[in-house]
């Protein structure tokens, strides 16, 4: 069975609210996402209006998570007033098309904080071991 065209096969209603979102296309234990524009009230299992890109969340051998974006069409759909979901907004922020999403900042500082705490714990353990050894 061939893949559906990127132009989408979903029915299009001009006045209905659109949303640019991630749509999971992978199989079990192998996530893969299409970045597609579809009606806001439509299920992810239903045909989309248009595919605007793809996102592979699993790092490849070069430790890269690949994202493809059709910026021209994203611009077009933003001009049409399409909404953008948070994950897609984060990706667009990291790609430099949007400002960085606050959630990206939040995860970054939270990760930094847990790392700092882990390091402190390790040092504490080392100090304890040193005292017991001496």
């Amino acid at each position: 069975m061939s893949l559906p065209p990127a132009s989408g096969t979903g029915r299009y209603f001009a006045r209905a609210a659109k949303s640019i979102r991630l749509i999971r296309q992978g199989c079990t234990n192998r996530p893969f996402f299409h970045i597609s524009v579809t009606h806001r009230r439509r299920l992810n299992s239903q045909p989309v209006i248009e595919q605007l890109g793809s996102y592979d969340p699993m790092p490849n051998i070069n430790n890269e998570k690949l994202v493809a974006l059709n910026l021209e069409r994203i611009k077009y759909w933003l001009g049409q007033g399409a909404h953008v979901t948070n994950p897609v907004a984060e990706l667009l922020g990291l790609s430099g098309f949007f400002p960085i999403h606050p959630r990206s900042y939040m995860t970054a500082w939270r990760n930094r904080r847990t790392e700092r705490e882990n390091l402190a714990k390790l040092e504490e353990q080392k100090a304890k071991e040193a005292t017991t050894a001496s």
Partner: protein
């Protein structure tokens, strides 16, 4: 009532996999062991909350600006498309058309020259081919005539032995005087004995001589 046609024409499969099929149904109550469990709320410090608020406010403002920009661009584009029939664009289009026509004519002339050359070559080839065929046909005819004349010569030579009404009687007499018998017999060794009434004596003699020696 669903009609057969509507079922056939449906745009997506009827069996839509539900993401929460593994959850328990809504009418099943909370488990006894979990009745008094109070889920732990995520703790967000005041500092972090204020920072997130600031970031979100900034982000929303910037996003609004971006959205407005793209929306206005879309409107502008639409307007330019609608005003494409203005005088300026018409003149530009006419110039473009003239340039295209000129280029097209140039290409056409070039192609015409090439075609003429190609046609000359093709005509030459055709002529040589036709001439070759004609020559072959002529040769064939000459050969056929020669063969026929040879045949005639041969038949003329043979005609001296033909039986004609004049010498018919003589031929009949000759045939009756010399009867020819084409019948013959073959023995086991392959010896041929011509004639119907020939007396066969040799094999008997051979057999008697063979028995005498044995």
């Amino acid at each position: 009532m669903l009609s057969q046609n509507s079922l056939l024409k449906r745009t997506w499969p009827m069996v839509v996999q539900c993401a929460e099929a593994h959850r328990k149904p809504r009418w099943v109550p909370v488990a006894k062991s979990k009745v008094f469990r109070v889920p732990k709320r995520p703790v967000v410090s005041e500092e972090e909350r204020l920072e997130l608020l600031r970031l979100h406010n900034n982000y929303k403002t910037q996003m609004r600006a971006i959205r407005r920009f793209y929306h206005e661009e879309m409107i502008k584009e639409k307007q330019t498309r609608e005003s494409a029939s203005s005088e300026m664009s018409q003149r530009l289009e006419a110039e473009e058309w003239a340039r295209c026509v000129e280029l097209n004519e140039k290409w056409n002339a070039q192609v015409a020259i090439e075609r003429e050359e190609r046609r000359k070559v093709e005509v030459n080839q055709l002529e040589t081919y036709a001439l070759k065929r004609m020559q072959a046909v002529d040769e064939k005819r000459v050969q056929a005539i020669a063969k026929a004349s040879e045949e005639i010569k041969r038949q003329k030579e043979l005609s001296s032995t033909f039986i004609t009404p004049e010498n018919l009687e003589a031929a009949i007499d000759h045939a009756l005087a010399n009867p020819t018998d084409y019948n013959f017999a073959i023995d086991l060794k392959g010896n041929k004995y011509l004639g119907r009434d020939t007396q066969i004596t040799k094999p008997k003699e051979a057999a008697s001589s063979a028995s005498a020696t044995a």
